[in-house]
Symmetry: C2
């Protein structure tokens, strides 16, 4: 286990295609951005210089600052300082939990600096992000808590730095557009726990939808587009976007609902071997490796062991685990490694018992996701728009003959005894949806 | 998915060591066994012959028989017969659910023939096993339901055959020793859904504890001992033993409790890649393979990707998945492939936050297992005796210095700055237990 730490400081450039576009067109946006960056750099330099030379004196100086490493060390007798004294005896409140019910209360939050925005030299806004939630915090000069120097310190914070903020929750009259939480935090104290180096991609760029880029483009502004290679080369930053936070959390929930449903239906979870002597099933390519002088394969499916479990009287089993398929296939339907959700059950009388379980399983997953992952689904839809899933509480069942007949009626030529190809499957899906 | 089907008919012999012992010593037990087997074979032959030639006629003949394959097929218009008519409109009751509250009710159960025992030619006992539960059923000649021929049919059933039994639940005055359920089923109808071939090992032999074998040995009786090779060669039969059914169900529950606890503590479940470009961490050997012309490794741990998730702002993550370590190690602490339960979390102030979570996690797992897996723990303990786990609601915490001091006080020489070796770790465990 490890403590929270800074991501490796990857020095890769944003991929050239998006940069060249922005270089060509940019104008206003780019100039604005460059100006902002110059400001930040100057402020950072000034802040660093001031930290070394003319540190503020007096009681207000204790309300902000960088937390030195010694103070953060987990030792029995850590060096105390202004941060330890400020957070001592307090619990952190999750940014996502900040709402009107906490009005006028003092809270301690920890998160990343999502953006900062100075308004003159007496006021600075900083949006703090924790996972899928953001909150607007403001530092405004006050004789008893916030000095001019502290506002300058807040303005100098680099994006993605981790900060601890102590402040009072207030509820503004107008809707807050730049953050998920509809409250503000009036900063009393702010400490930087870990100052981030300049990141190779910004969360703002990585969170942009195609629609936004195209809309801006029509208005003559070229916004940076972060391509997949760049994302994968800077994965730890890319997965901080709200859409990715959502995707991983939805995935986690799918696994959870899948398991809870099956356990409630008397299934047993098994973990089958992934290193096996022969290929699991025909029809898909296999990765081979040397297992201490013997030839071994990576399992293409838990099929054999699931069936062994049924013959071994487990009755109903399931597995969630990696599946390996060495195919030279470049369709969107293929991955060399994926996480399989596998189910196997004995039937008492008729295979429709399996259809009943699977039917109910999927409806349960869809229902639960709509309930527990509302926020996450919205976060994903914002960057990658999708239509809400349509499904019936009781799934429509077609026999193969009925499906073939529907395709024939729609003018698709089809072999009534053969498998459906991808195109026919899609067409059939469409026809069923229209029904 | 597949339907319940017979295990492959492995014709391996029970391993020779145990057989040679039993040949030498056996006497009474072996003779009894051989006689029993001869009886079964004779009855099976007689039954097969009668099935072909003089099938019983009249209404009672509909109350038993082998279910022909056509009748079991999942088609829209299956061939009807006496079995389909008998089970039509009925639901199966789990053997484990049979108890006194069902007294005098008619139930339909499905399970394997665990043992049969004839008492004259008008009465036969058959113990039916479903997963970890067994129930004693009896067929006794009655003018309105059970014929002599039916009793003969019940006696002829080979062990491990799958049967459907319709009968009335009764509660005997005396304790039932040969089955888990304290009720009997008075058979009215019995159909054999799938007749098992002779199995290479019997569940009875595979379920025997070392203590039973030794006890019998002292009394001059050599009972067969099923060695590990034989078990692994006949895995689908071996995992039908109550101990193995228990082990797999406990394992399933451990995973479930692990996940439920962590999800409730705001952890996100992740699935990290198992095929990676380099080794995950130093210090353990790695399996290498060819990934489409590039060199790849099997992950020795999800370490890197867990840490990436933390840097990527997931905050708290866990994974349950396979881990591969290619070490040439033959200790009981090493497996080349195992299922890892992995946890990674950010800390706010002190590493004791991790200890708090892990502490509570283990106590929750132990508590829950004692609650929900009572039956399974008993089943395992019967074959492989173990002492009940001792643990405190709040785990004892020792600093490294305190541990070293305890060992020193007990006279163990130890390097106060080095790692503890296996022996010292064991000794320390002992000392803590004694405390």
């Amino acid at each position: 286990m490890s403590t929270e730490s800074e991501p490796p400081k990857v020095q890769e450039e944003v991929d050239s295609s998006s940069q060249s576009i922005s270089k060509k067109a940019a104008k206003k946006e780019a100039a604005k951005k460059a100006k902002e960056e110059r400001r930040k750099e100057a402020e950072a330099a000034a802040s660093a210089a001031s930290a070394l030379s003319i540190e503020e004196e007096g009681p207000l100086a204790n309300n902000y600052g960088d937390v030195p490493l010694q103070e953060l060390q987990s030792v029995n007798d850590p060096q105390t300082g202004k941060w330890s004294e400020a957070v001592s005896g307090r619990e952190w409140t999750e940014v996502g939990a900040l709402n009107g019910s906490l009005k006028d209360q003092e809270v301690l939050i920890r998160g990343r600096v999502h953006t900062t925005r100075p308004v003159g030299n007496k006021l600075a806004f900083v949006v703090v992000r924790e996972r899928v939630s953001t909150v607007q915090c403001l530092a405004t000069v006050k004789p008893d808590s916030v000095s001019k120097e502290m506002v300058r310190f807040v303005r100098s914070l680099s994006n993605e730095s981790i900060v601890d903020v102590i402040g009072v929750v207030s509820v503004p009259d107008v809707e807050i557009k730049g953050a998920t939480q509809q409250v503000e935090v009036q900063i009393k104290k702010l400490y930087c726990v870990s100052r981030a180096a300049k990141t190779p991609i910004t969360i703002e760029d990585a969170s942009r939808s195609e629609a936004e880029i195209e809309k801006a483009s029509k208005e003559g502004v070229q916004l940076p587009r972060v391509n997949q290679d760049t994302r994968l080369n800077n994965r730890v930053i890319d997965i901080r976007t709200l859409a990715n936070q959502g995707i991983f959390r939805i995935q986690s929930q799918v696994g959870n609902i899948f398991r809870q449903f099956l356990l409630s239906e008397n299934f047993v979870e098994i973990h089958t071997p992934k290193l096996i002597a022969g290929s699991s099933e025909g029809g898909s390519a296999v990765f081979r490796l040397d297992y201490k002088g013997q030839s071994a394969c990576l399992a293409q499916s838990p099929q054999l062991h699931k069936q062994m479990s049924i013959c071994g009287d487990f009755g109903r089993v399931f597995e969630t685990g990696p599946v390996f398929r060495a195919e030279d296939s470049y369709t969107h339907r293929h991955l060399c490694e994926f996480t399989g959700l596998d189910v196997e059950m004995e039937i008492k009388k008729h295979y429709s018992e399996v259809m009943d379980i699977v039917d109910c399983l999927f409806v349960t997953i869809f229902d639960s996701l709509n309930n527990v992952c509302k926020k996450e689904l919205e976060a994903v839809a914002k960057q990658y728009p999708f239509e809400p899933l349509k499904y019936k509480p009781k799934t429509l069942r077609l026999t193969f003959e009925e499906g073939v007949q529907m395709l024939k009626d729609a003018g698709v030529e089809i072999d009534p005894l053969g498998d459906l190809n991808t195109e026919s499957e899609r067409k059939l899906g469409q026809l069923v949806l229209e029904k």
